[in-house]
């Protein structure tokens, strides 16, 4: 390597062959990361990891790894859902604010299909294998997506939003209703569990590490992993290690989602989607069956939302309609897409990760740590905190009530982004909608304008 002197020894990054020579090794690395989408995502994750480590390193390795696991899990599931929403809203301009409902349909269908017909507690299921359940969950979400698409053919943005929001609430309230639960038990022999929710089938990833999912009986792989990183090695608790195993599965799904959606976007189908977003009448007048494409986009997007719901909530042990599938969840996913810049798949992945770490989980953790550092009583009310005129007391109050403050923070960030950077954190990116490289010009070397 001839330019080793310039890169200053950090040979891990690829040599930067950008138009201008970067000034330092760090700049070169940043430059290289900017150029590749994967580098961008990994770089963002590393920054988040560094910040999280800084926040918790005094509590020992176990809590550092635990926090990283939580942040990564949330980042990945938000990224998955944001990708599905980006197909509908970012690419095609279909304003679907029923994301939570489609996720609920996915995970509930999966649960009902897979749960044992005669469980110890909770509603009965059909007792079919997990893959069947996952496909059924996606299928049911897709079917409902097709139903939701029917009004989409006639309604413009705002009205479609109202309809999808209504649909999502109908789904949530139906799942919560014991009448609906009993009706399903009587007709198909599988119930929803009503307001109490249902336990999710065992996570197969857990079975990779533990025989029958029972703690204390590790498999060969479990033995190996736990021996190196677990109680007998680095001292990381076993559930956290299993969590990392599941994260590997999520990451594989994220890559699959990304590849599918990128291919879809970089094709004539993607061009038609974009054209519908820009001007439906033009697409129609150029011979594109706009309604058919809208239905397809709804079906594909909702199936992916159903799968994201399964991967997310299916791994959480128990689902119940009301805290989990409120419209708030939909708005979180929208924020993730907006942060990343709607219309960009890489942006959606990045937006999901940044949202989960910096806006969703981050403030709580930072608040908790700051509260731990403050040696002051928490005043009983906001008025008391204000009257005390003591910044320390005020901070104690604020950090103890970080959850409601988080919404204020979210709102401010959203207003700031929409006002100052409506194209998202990645800036104005051109997402080419063609299966070939459009920048290269055939016949002749006139590729540069």
């Amino acid at each position: 390597m001839s330019d080793a002197d310039a890169s200053g020894g950090s040979a891990s990054g690829p040599p930067a062959n950008g138009p201008q020579a970067p000034e330092s090794a760090t700049a070169a690395l940043v430059e290289a990361a900017r150029e590749s989408d994967l580098g961008l995502v990994v770089g963002t994750l590393l920054v988040i990891y560094a910040a999280a480590t800084l926040l918790t390193f005094s509590d020992g390795l176990n809590s550092v790894v635990g926090l990283l696991e939580t942040l990564t899990f949330l980042g990945l599931v938000y990224a998955l859902t944001a990708l599905a929403l980006n197909l509908q809203w970012g690419y095609t301009g279909l304003f679907n604010i029923g994301v939570a409902g489609f996720m609920a349909v996915g995970v509930y269908t999966m649960g009902m299909v897979v749960r044992s017909p005669d469980p110890a507690f909770g509603p009965p299921g059909l007792g079919l294998p997990l893959p069947v359940g996952i496909v059924a969950g996606m299928g049911m979400a897709a079917l409902l997506g097709a139903v939701a698409a029917l009004p989409a053919l006639r309604l413009k943005a705002d009205y479609l939003a109202i309809v999808t929001l209504g649909l999502s609430e109908i789904i949530r309230l139906s799942l919560q209703s014991s009448t609906f639960d009993n009706f399903l038990r009587d007709t198909i022999g599988a119930g929803t569990g009503g307001g109490r929710g249902m336990g999710m089938p065992d996570n197969p990833v857990r079975d990779l590490f533990l025989v029958d999912g029972q703690a204390g009986t590790p498999t060969a792989l479990g033995d190996l992993v736990f021996g190196v990183f677990g109680n007998d090695g680095l001292g990381i608790s076993h559930p956290i290690l299993i969590g990392w195993g599941y994260i590997a599965v999520l990451a594989a799904f994220l890559v699959a989602f990304y590849l599918i959606l990128e291919r879809l976007g970089r094709s004539p189908f993607g061009r038609t989607m974009k054209a519908i977003r820009e001007d439906e009448l033009v697409a129609n007048s150029l011979g594109k069956d706009v309604n058919l494409v809208k239905i397809k986009v709804f079906v594909i997007g909702c199936a992916l939302m159903g799968l994201a719901g399964i991967l997310w909530f299916g791994s959480q042990g128990n689902v119940s309609p009301t805290p989990q599938f409120r419209p708030l969840l939909t708005f979180y996913v929208f924020i993730a897409v907006i942060i990343g810049g709607s219309g960009s798949n890489t942006g959606s992945v990045l937006g999901g990760i940044v949202f989960a770490a910096a806006l969703f989980e981050g403030p709580r953790r930072v608040g908790g740590v700051v509260r731990g550092l403050i040696d002051a009583e928490t005043p009983p009310s906001f008025a008391d905190a204000l009257v005390s005129l003591d910044p320390v007391t005020f901070l104690a109050y604020a950090t103890d009530n970080i959850a409601p403050l988080q919404f204020v923070f979210l709102g401010i960030v959203l207003v700031f982004i929409i006002h100052r950077r409506p194209e998202g954190i990645l800036g104005d990116r051109i997402e080419t909608a063609a299966a070939v490289d459009l920048s290269e010009r055939p016949n002749g070397g006139e590729s540069d304008e």
Binding site: R263, P268, A283, G287, K288, K296, L438, P442
Partner: protein
């Protein structure tokens, strides 16, 4: 285009931001003259086609001879109590450049919208190449080979000019979501895209907006948008193009260029129906003129016939014909 190429790129570089109207090279002036010369003789194909035109050359699949590509019969369109079109009937001959004129509110745009499926006519029939297309959806009519442009240019602003063009071709393999995604099937899509890209570049060169290929269409000037619209319509490989005021808001240089393109394409066998406000342009360029007034066809004929028609003069009272 080998000898031509350096010229072209130089011109484009010189005033990339400026109006493409300024970037005419000698070859094009020659073509323009040729068009002017052959203007009178209708069916004589141009002898000195440039390579670019050759590339854009179009062989219409051929309507059964004798059947006019477009026939409108007793078209009526009412909006509530307002009758916008009131029994309009006319024909457009194959390979012609037909003008549709009329004062404001004569029902020209509504007629256009009824023909292309944007509106469903209240009564009457529209036939395209002998086939009844009344009440079909816009995309169905476009697929039959009749495309339109819009009075106010409707470019797809956040797509590049090249993407705008590549959107247009009909029946692309990759319009199927499954083909676009599945590994084994995507190869054919990529192959087709490569051909489309080449065709898009040729069309851009023909309209001399190739220097704007990577620009977002929303950044184009009004005249460039009109060129883009026409280029996009041609990419659908139509039999017939309906142009709704293609010259509105276009500067004289660009106007001439647009008209040249229309004449070139007509010589290649395309049929055009042109709605225009400006009488002079219609009279000078169209071999047949249809005059609409108050929702129905007032007169039909050659420019000279129309010019001397009493009723037309009355309808356009005050306008100097």
């Amino acid at each position: 285009m080998s000898s031509d190429a350096p010229d072209r790129s130089d011109a484009a570089d010189g005033d990339a931001a400026a109006d493409p109207g300024d970037a005419t090279d000698p070859g094009d002036l020659g073509a323009a003259e040729a068009v002017a010369a052959t203007d009178g003789a209708e069916d004589e194909p141009e002898a000195n086609d440039s390579a670019v035109e050759e590339a854009a050359k179009h062989v219409p699949s051929g309507s059964p001879s004798g059947t006019p590509p477009l026939r409108v019969e007793g078209l009526v369109k009412r909006f509530g109590g307002v009758t916008a079109v009131d029994g309009a009937s006319f024909e457009v001959e194959s390979g012609s450049l037909t003008g549709l004129i009329g004062p404001n509110g004569a029902g020209k745009s509504t007629t256009f919208n009824c023909i292309t499926g944007v509106h469903e006519p209240t009564a009457g029939k529209v036939y395209f190449e002998g086939e009844d297309v009344t009440g079909l959806k816009p995309y169905q009519i476009a697929r039959k080979g009749m495309v339109r442009t819009f009075q106010i240019a409707r470019e797809l602003g956040e797509m590049t000019v090249l993407e705008n063009l590549m959107l247009a071709p009909q029946g692309q393999l990759g319009e199927s979501a499954i083909r676009a995604v599945t590994p084994g099937l995507r190869g054919a899509v990529v192959e087709e895209e490569t051909e489309l890209r080449e065709r898009a570049w040729e069309t851009l060169e023909f309209f001399e907006i190739d220097h704007l290929a990577h620009e977002h269409a929303g950044n184009l000037s009004g005249g460039q948008r009109k060129l883009l619209e026409m280029a996009r319509a041609l990419m659908t490989d139509p039999e017939m193009v309906l142009l709704d005021e293609p010259l509105a808001g276009v500067n004289p240089t660009l106007e001439e260029k647009l008209l040249d393109r229309i004449h070139d394409l007509r010589a290649d066998g395309y049929t055009f129906l042109l709605v225009e406000h400006d009488m002079d342009i219609i009279m000078e360029n169209c071999e047949r003129v249809i005059v609409m007034h108050q929702g129905s066809v007032l007169a039909e004929g050659t420019g000279d016939e129309i010019r001397n028609d009493e009723r037309v003069i009355e309808a356009y009272l005050g306008e100097d014909l």
